[in-house]
Amino acid sequence: MANGTHDGGSDHDGAPGKPLSDDAALSARLGRLDQRLSSLKDTRKSKADTDERQEQDASARASALARGFRLSSELVAGVAVGAAIGWGFDYLLSTSPWGLIVFFLLGFAAGVVNLMRVAGVVPDVQDRVKGPPRDQ
């Protein structure tokens, strides 16, 4: 595109003049992005790995049942606590049924957050801020 207006060299030799620098900049940016992504991914992965190692060591990893119990109880606990808070809110302020509805949904969100933290899908907030996993 720019090669026509830029310099009058032969078409395929002069072309890399300016576009080359653009390409270089682009590839450099892509490289940096790639690096950042991979480092982020590494952080997450290592975090998930350490969690895995801490919570279920070699003998324990066999027990998928325990892991299933753990994950499901996190979700259920979040929803149950949310519903309980909502019910209490309604009971005290007689705003039925709005408190129950709002806190039930919040509780569901909290349960999913718990679940994803336990599963190591999302890192804990402090890890994202500080960078490397804290417990090394």
Binding site: E55, A66, S73, A77, A80, G82, I85, L106, A110, V113
Partner: protein, 248 residues
């Protein structure tokens, strides 16, 4: 053949009355005392020799110390070691009572939710009280993550608070549900053996299958008993870490 029968609480003797309520020494209390006595015997008996080359007992005592100490150091850091007595007590109590509960005709203390809730609330209140004592109002930073836009901050804080409050629930329900479900399953499969056995020759031949399953389930229950004690202890460590370093 009632699979729930094993969880029945029986009064062994009455200690006294308090405010019109009977304070009784139950079979649950007896097994708690047994767990404490066994732990104390292992620890005191194991360390009494103080040998440089440990005997078997001393080796078990040292292993359990090292296990909990490593767990606490790796999750809560060196500061976490001040909570070592708490975590070690909780782990040994749950572990020993779970293991004792596997033995037929015994009572499993942690299959009652009131026991696990009491343990989980102990941890929960320790986290809150120590967190407030050590960090003051900075403890509440636990609920306010950095780098969240102002617009959704109230929502995130509400979710974080509910997530924090749900900890003792999941902490206690996990141990309780695992032990309860495991023991009921074991009982149900074991009762299949006697039911089939009553049907004559063909029934006895068929009863081999549930017998094999019961043996396999007993092994699994042994794993679950140890694993759940471990999970309970490591979650205690993770929660205590929040009290020590609430820096979000």
């Amino acid at each position: 053949m009632d699979p729930i029968h094993q969880f029945e609480i029986k009064n062994l003797f009455t200690i006294g009355t308090f405010g019109g309520h009977e304070i009784a020494f139950t079979n649950s209390a007896a097994y708690m005392v047994l767990a404490v006595v066994l732990t104390a015997a292992l620890m005191l008996g194991g360390t009494a020799g103080r040998r440089l080359v440990p005997s078997r007992m001393q080796s078990m005592a040292e292993l359990s110390y090292e296990f909990i100490a490593d767990m606490l150091r790796s999750t809560a850091g060196e500061h976490g070691m001040k909570f070592f007595p708490l975590v070690f007590t909780i782990f040994m109590f749950v572990f020993v009572s779970n293991i004792v509960g596997i033995i037929p005709y015994t009572f499993t203390v942690s299959s009652h939710i009131i026991v696990t809730v009491a343990l989980a609330l102990l941890v929960f209140l320790t986290v809150i009280i120590y967190g407030l004592y050590k960090n003051g109002l900075k403890f509440f930073k636990l609920f306010v993550p950095h780098g969240i836009p102002m617009v959704i901050l109230p929502l995130v804080v509400a979710i974080e608070i509910i997530s924090f409050l749900s900890r003792p629930v999941s902490h206690s329900v996990r141990l309780f549900a695992n032990m309860l479900a495991g023991h009921i399953t074991l009982k149900v499969f074991a009762s299949f053996i006697t039911m089939l056995g009553a049907l004559g020759i063909a029934g006895i031949a068929g009863a081999v299958l549930p017998l094999a399953l019961t043996i396999a389930l007993t092994a699994l229950e042994l794993l679950v008993a140890a694993l759940q004690a471990y999970v309970f202890a490591i979650l205690t460590c993770i929660y205590l870490n929040d009290a020590i370093h609430p820096g979000h």
